[in-house]
């Protein structure tokens, strides 16, 4: 399935919990903000949001990574644009 992963750099404080849980999807840039990768690669220029194709297991782990963020700076949407996390 495809998920739209987005980091809000204004909220991100570089706590790096997401990098610890999902390093293939999140890394920190020079400004100490998390950016989004596609399975460890950057097919397009560096970005705070990306649509990536994931397995059910990867999706669970991405939700865990988003949940671990102390500032809730990570947003996850499904293909239809429905926000999966944070719960509204």
């Amino acid at each position: 399935m495809k998920l739209h992963i987005k980091v809000d750099p204004d909220l991100c404080i570089g706590a790096a919990s997401c990098v610890t849980i999902a390093p293939e999807t999140f890394q920190l840039n020079e400004e100490n903000k998390a950016y989004v990768l596609d399975h460890g690669t950057e097919p397009t220029p560096r970005t705070y949001e990306r649509v990536i194709d994931v397995t059910e297991e990867e999706k669970e782990n991405l939700i865990l990574a988003a949940q671990s963020c102390p500032t809730l700076a990570i947003f996850i949407f499904d293909e239809a644009g429905v926000q999966l996390f944070p719960d509204l």
Binding site: L11, I13, A16, T20, Q27, N32, P70, L72
Partner: protein, 392 residues
């Protein structure tokens, strides 16, 4: 199985959630001193600056506890532990039997011995609500004072700067984080703050407050400082009395092995209160950060429900002080290191300290040098020897 978790913060709540995920039937009780559902303390400064609305600081809704069939007791603390008969006594008089007990009560904020309207702390949501209120009440010529030299002092600096309050900061040490930083790193922070208009007083003791019912000033060993607001961030000291009375081994925190087990059978600890044996760095450490608390809560749940997996995490915390990026990774206690290597300088506007023990990289503090983070984290994780490790 009956699980009792004492402490409703991120460690305790994550443990409850992880236990329920693995086990639909066990009884889980979460004892919380606060009345709020789980919220992010890290978001409190964002809330105070108006970057997120208050409702956004919550990580769980009140209904969540019931949906998860987690018995959630609020406004209650634990005051007694009977390890032989396996029950805890609560402040409301109840006694709760347990098969597995997790202590995740965090720390109590250290206070100054005086109180007036205008004095604030920044740990809980109630503290933040109180601070939001007094920030609203300030006159146009208000002045702020900060007492402290750590993470909370940084939050106050950013907050008071956001509200354009002229700020004086004092602390007892020669510079920020005296247990971790050396002179060069300390000097860099001091230079950054003073250049941005902060009046800084080091090696300064708190003496008293001035004012009748409202704060008008703070007396320190350096003299009197006019102040309408005082932000106090001088660390935490947990209440260990009920644990010590039960024979739980307590050092700087509740001592555990690498499986988060205390010396008392079936009693575990996680989060800020735990002083756990960290196999990666090879000694007991206490890591007072979000990443550690959440990960230990989850790990404790797995271990309590029968998995035999030691807790391994190189945790870190990042903040900034008026725009200067500050990152702590791994074991950053100077006294526990054999050697502290310093890269960069005040002049270069960036200082990194690398902590080495028994020839291995065990920790790092990065001031204005974010670029070193990944390499240092990896070196600690992979238990690299200091000689294998080269950054410049």
């Amino acid at each position: 199985m009956r699980y009792v978790i004492v402490g409703g913060g991120v460690a305790g709540t994550t443990a409850a959630e992880a236990l329920r995920k693995r086990d639909a039937k066990s009884e889980i009780t979460l004892v919380s001193e606060e009345h709020h559902p789980l919220y992010s303390r890290v978001l409190l400064p964002h809330y105070l600056k108006g970057k997120v609305p208050r409702e956004r600081v919550f990580l769980k809704k009140e209904a969540w506890y019931g949906q998860q069939q987690i018995e959630w007791l609020t406004g209650i603390a634990c005051e007694h532990l009977d390890p032989r008969n396996q029950f805890v006594g609560l402040t409301d008089g109840r006694e709760l039997p347990y098969d597995r007990l997790l202590v995740a009560t965090g720390g109590e904020v250290r206070t100054v011995d005086a109180d007036l309207r205008g004095v604030s702390y920044l740990r809980t949501l109630d503290d933040a609500d109180h601070l939001a209120q007094i920030l609203c009440e300030q006159p146009a010529d208000a002045r702020a004072v900060i007492f402290g030299g750590g993470f909370i002092a940084c939050e106050y600096l950013n907050l008071f700067s956001h509200f354009r309050l002229p700020t004086t900061l004092f602390h007892r040490g020669a510079h920020f984080w005296t247990r971790s930083l050396g002179e060069e790193a300390g000097a860099l922070i001091a230079k950054h703050l003073t250049e941005r208009g902060v009046e800084l007083h080091t090696r300064t003791q708190f003496v008293n407050l001035l004012g009748e019912s409202e704060l008008t000033g703070v007396v320190t060993s350096q003299g009197e400082h006019a102040a309408h607001l005082l932000g106090v961030g001088i660390g935490t000291s947990p209440d260990f009395s009920w644990l010590k009375a039960a024979g739980v081994d307590v050092g700087a925190g509740v001592r555990t092995n690498a499986f988060l087990e205390t010396n008392i059978p079936h009693v575990y600890a996680a989060g800020d209160i735990a002083e756990f044996f960290d196999e990666i760095v090879g000694r007991h450490i206490q890591a007072g950060n979000w990443m550690n608390a959440m990960s230990q809560g989850r790990a404790a749940a797995h271990i309590m429900s029968g998995e035999r997996e030691p807790f391994h995490l190189v945790s870190s915390y990042a903040t900034n002080a008026l725009g200067l990026e500050i990152i702590f990774v791994g074991d950053t206690l100077k006294d526990a290191a054999d050697e502290v290597r310093v890269l960069g300088s005040v002049h270069a506007l960036g200082v990194t300290q690398i902590f080495v023990r028994q020839g291995r990289v065990v920790g790092g503090v990065l001031i204005g040098r974010n670029q070193d983070r990944a390499a240092i984290t990896k070196a600690i994780q992979e238990q690299k020897t200091a000689s294998e490790f080269e950054i410049c």
